[in-house]
Symmetry: C2
Subunit: 625 residues, 2 copies
């Protein structure tokens, strides 16, 4: 068992793909973590903006959450339909580019790619941030811990979707269980107490209102609350990861995720005003998260409280995993259309789109390093991308239904139409509300990314156009090449090279560079050991060309000579046979000059298609017989 096997697991054959697929049990931890974990920060984000309103503000969370839930329901129904229509996997990118055209597709692609990198970075740093606020001694190691989690996530995801789902199942279901229990107990207590339950541990006293309600404030609170909806896209992109019938299991998984999320969001919005829980100012003394206050108020600070808090921390940091599950699939879809490097379509040993995992890990690592592992300021950036993708996906579905008129297509078109309008409005709201907070960065990056993808596509197109061949192979004008061989002294290596040259060329020239005056010895030896035997055996007699090099350069005069020979024989191919001594150990490199390598790269940079370089390796320690 090699180290690679130990780290990433044994290679999976392409045929084993079906066995590597998953059901909803593993689908929820893999594709749902991002969406579900947002229950921990979405309501909090909205409530934070409502702080200046005091108790009135807490009450406003109810209508805001209702708006979010409505939007969520619309988006849910649209994506359900998308899964049905695109059982091969239909993320916003696929839907938008197939129905709205290339540019719309690229817009969705750019928005989503930015969104996933942000999800990964923000998820990891949120988890570490929560841990650091619990154990302040770890503060100095924030970045190191972030990168450590990133490495673990990368390795786990490279091991394949089965493993990831298995590993993340426990914390995910623990989190879901705790939050649903909290809501159940809280709601029961509230109803029993006639709407005014007595908190076990009272939340901090509410500060008095310092502002009056304004539409602008509510709008901004709504925009913040919308971050709770990021990650809903994931399942539709990963349909192919599910067991057959893929679309059925994908829909089931999506339904469960959305249902749980709605219960969580609704429950929190119901309990917060009932228990008088408001947000506290992050970063200020006495800060406590909304969920922590709610847990303490409903159940006190017992075992349940601590279990829940720990599960929230874990799920937050694992929410980055949704990006790992989805980004490679998205990149693959884009690459299949030629807008990203082809290598994103390759599956590694565990049937995962390995290059996508690496790319996400690298981008996330860079982002984390730049921000020192503290990415709070990035949170406003990433609702824009998600909602932009929602909108394009649904607008695309509208076109889809119009094109594929069927039994339910009118109804479906209506659902997606409402979705498109609703999410479209939300994009505008989020953009306006968060423009100065950082949404402008997303707005700047998206066209850059789109330009890059377009350039890649153009490049591939050009290569394809130039290299494609539909006609029969050209069998005319074949002629034997001219063989040139650099030689320093007559050795078994030159002999091997010459014998090779005889097998392919009739015009063979050895090129010898003379840096200082040399005696006749080499040339005499040459005549005796090479020319005479060749003549006797009736083989092509190799010519010895001696080049003077006043400036002691060796590779450059050879390159000049090769180019000159090629120009004098424009119809013929020039082959340069470079003898090279190859040793076993890298440190032996220091003992021999690197002229063969230099010659090779100089000839290559000459980019002359009529010149071919052949390495004739001479192994000091041959392994073959």
């Amino acid at each position: 068992m090699t180290l690679t096997d130990l780290l990433f697991g044994r290679p999976l054959a392409t045929e084993e793909e079906k066995a590597a697929r998953i059901g909803p049990g593993k689908g929820i931890p893999i594709f749902g973590l991002d969406a579900l974990s947002s229950a921990a920060y979405g309501p909090e984000a909205a409530l934070t903006l409502l702080i200046p309103l005091g108790m009135m503000g807490v009450r406003h969370i109810v209508p805001i959450t209702l708006c979010v839930l409505l939007l969520l329901a619309i988006v849910y129904f649209s994506y359900r339909q998308t899964i049905t229509a695109y059982p091969q996997g239909g993320g916003s990118y696929t839907v938008a580019s197939e129905n709205l055209g290339t540019w719309a597709g690229l817009l969705a692609a750019a928005a989503l790619m930015i969104d996933y990198v942000l999800t990964a970075a923000v998820g990891i740093s949120a988890g570490v941030g929560a841990l650091v606020s619990a154990v302040p001694g770890l503060q100095a190691h924030t970045l190191l811990m972030c990168l450590g989690i990133l490495v673990v996530l990368t390795v786990v995801n490279l091991r394949g979707v089965q493993e990831t789902g298995g590993l993340f199942r426990l914390p995910t279901y623990l989190f879901i269980g705790c939050l649903l229990a909290l809501i159940a107990i809280g709601v029961a207590k509230t109803l029993l107490a006639g709407g005014h339950p007595l908190p076990v541990i009272a939340p901090p006293r509410l500060s008095r209102a310092t502002e009056a309600v304004s539409a602008w404030l509510l709008l901004r609170a709504f925009a913040s609350g919308c971050t709770a909806m990021t990650g809903v896209e994931a399942v539709s992109n990963g349909v192919m990861a599910f067991r057959d019938p893929t679309d059925k299991y994908a829909r089931l998984t999506l339904t469960i995720i959305i249902a749980i999320l709605m219960v969580m969001l609704g429950g929190i919005a119901f309990l917060a005003p009932a228990y008088g829980v408001a947000a506290t100012l992050p970063g200020a003394v006495g800060y406590q998260s909304v969920l922590s206050q709610l847990l303490a108020a409903v159940t006190g600070k017992g075992a349940f409280y601590w279990t829940s808090i720990v599960s929230i921390l874990i799920v937050l940091s694992l929410s980055a995993n949704t990006a790992f599950a989805d980004f490679p699939r998205l990149a693959r879809a884009i690459a299949r259309n030629g807008f990203l490097p082809h290598s994103f379509t390759l599956r590694g040993r565990r049937l995962v789109y390995t290059p996508g995992v690496y790319a996400l890990a690298i981008l996330t690592g860079v982002l984390l390093t730049i921000f020192g592992g503290v990415t709070d300021r990035l949170i406003p950036l990433y609702a824009v991308g998600a909602f932009l993708a929602f909108t394009l996906s649904q607008a695309g579905m509208v076109v889809h239904w119009r094109r594929n008129a069927g039994e339910h297509s009118r109804k479906s078109m209506a659902i997606n139409g409402v979705g498109a309008v609703a999410t479209g409005i939300t994009v505008c709201v989020v953009l306006v509300a968060k423009f100065t907070e950082g949404a402008w960065i997303t707005l700047l990056l998206i066209p850059l990314l789109m330009g890059m993808m377009k350039a890649i596509h153009r490049h591939y197109g050009r290569v394809e156009r130039v290299t494609a061949l539909d006609r029969a192979v050209n069998t005319a004008e074949l002629c034997r090449p001219i063989a040139l061989i650099p030689v320093e002294r007559w050795s078994v290596i030159s002999e091997k090279t010459l014998r090779f040259a005889w097998s392919m060329a009739s015009d063979i020239r050895f090129v010898h560079v003379e840096c200082e005056e040399e005696d006749e010895r080499f040339q005499k030896q040459w005549r005796a050991l090479v020319e005479a035997p060749a003549r006797e055996a009736k083989l092509a007699v190799p010519e010895l060309v001696v080049l003077r090099s006043p400036y002691r350069f060796v590779a450059a005069p050879i390159v000049d000579y090769v180019l000159q020979v090629q120009q004098q024989n424009p119809a013929r191919r020039v082959v340069v046979l470079v003898p090279e001594l190859i040793e076993k150990h890298w440190y032996n490199l220091l003992l021999h000059n690197q002229r063969p390598q230099l010659l090779r790269s100089l000839l290559r940079s000459a980019a002359n298609p009529k010149i071919t370089v052949i390495d004739i390796p001479w192994y000091l320690n041959p392994l073959g017989r």
Copy 2:
């Protein structure tokens, strides 16, 4: 004019070598800086050990200096003779290995190499140390300044010996002028005052004696004073750098350097007791160097004082340059005998042995970095190497004179014999006196270096034995190779590769790796576009070999197949033609898979001498017509 030209100067032709040679005017700054600058620290080192003796100690500097001067005279006469006997350059290494055998030569080589690296590191850090003690604000940048000076020295030396001599001439002669003037004025004042001159600025009061004189103390003081003799070797190594007649100019240069050094050492030893100047404890409050005290006592702190101090600082840091002048020549001499990599014998664009300069710069840089630019503790280490080299050189010369009996050979042998015995005794004294202070490190490094050089020699010997060829080229059993071509799809690149294969092989097989189920399209296209036309043109019909790859590896199945074909045809050569798309920009690399490179390195690591890889480059942007 390229950047390289600007930095290093235009290339010099081998024929221009004579013009690049120097006379004594430039020879003294190049080869004498190390020896001359030691006047600034040799007496100081001896006086520091005499501090516990109080005023008595200062008087003991006179006999100690007389011993050093005697030794210096002996060494001078011996090296004069060496230069005459070895006008091609005869450092200790050459003399010892030619007369005393390989191991003695390697011993001298190892001692000298260590010595030169230490000279470079200590010289630079001494200069920077002096600067830092003058401007304490620079303390934090010690290492950076050391490395900066190292880079400057490296570049200047790469520009060639002419430039170096020209650049260092002014500070060197300023230093010599100042010190000689100081001694002349001081001696004149002393004589006029009847041996008891009145200091212009009185040196710090002498502390009272705390110890009695002991032979051990005087021995240690002498050993420290001997550091003043390092660097004397340099001229004999660099004879070939001088104008014709080389030996005459080299001897003249050596004579001038030694004469000036003797006057300086003698003058300081005379003036110190006369003016009552003793050493102060380095690192302690009120530390002042002996030369600074003497300058102040003789001339006061005027313009002359400051000019002298500045010239001492500059010369100290430039003393490292002697190592740069000599190490490459030494390494070249060793490499010519096959005990160091051959590349040390190559001259760069400015006729300098460039690899030696780089090697010294790297080793010095590493040493400076390890010690953070503070290498005071290394000073004790480097008298051992120098005196070991002296001894071996002179013992070698004794043997030389016995072998080449001539007119004066008896006298010469006597001179070198006395020198060998005297320096041999000094090696023992220095070793014993400084063993615990660090001389043991030198004693440990020398055998390691010798072992390394011996191993290099053995390796070269093996390669030479295995590859040398004295017989005529084997013209029997030439047969055309089997050509294998990896192919993904039929393109102009595959066409070019096939046409190349036709020119050299009759058995051609295309190898296609199938990772997922593919349809028949490729094979149909193949039959129509390749097989049929080949048959029609009566060319070798290439076979299409399809390899299934259940684990989606592409390069590995091809390598396995190549090895298998080779084993099935043990008598024939297998040629793998690897088509490769080559683009102009490095970032385009990201857009295409690196399978050609992977395949190449896998085949190379198979180290099968019967397998040859040929790159068939296909340039997207050809430069040739």
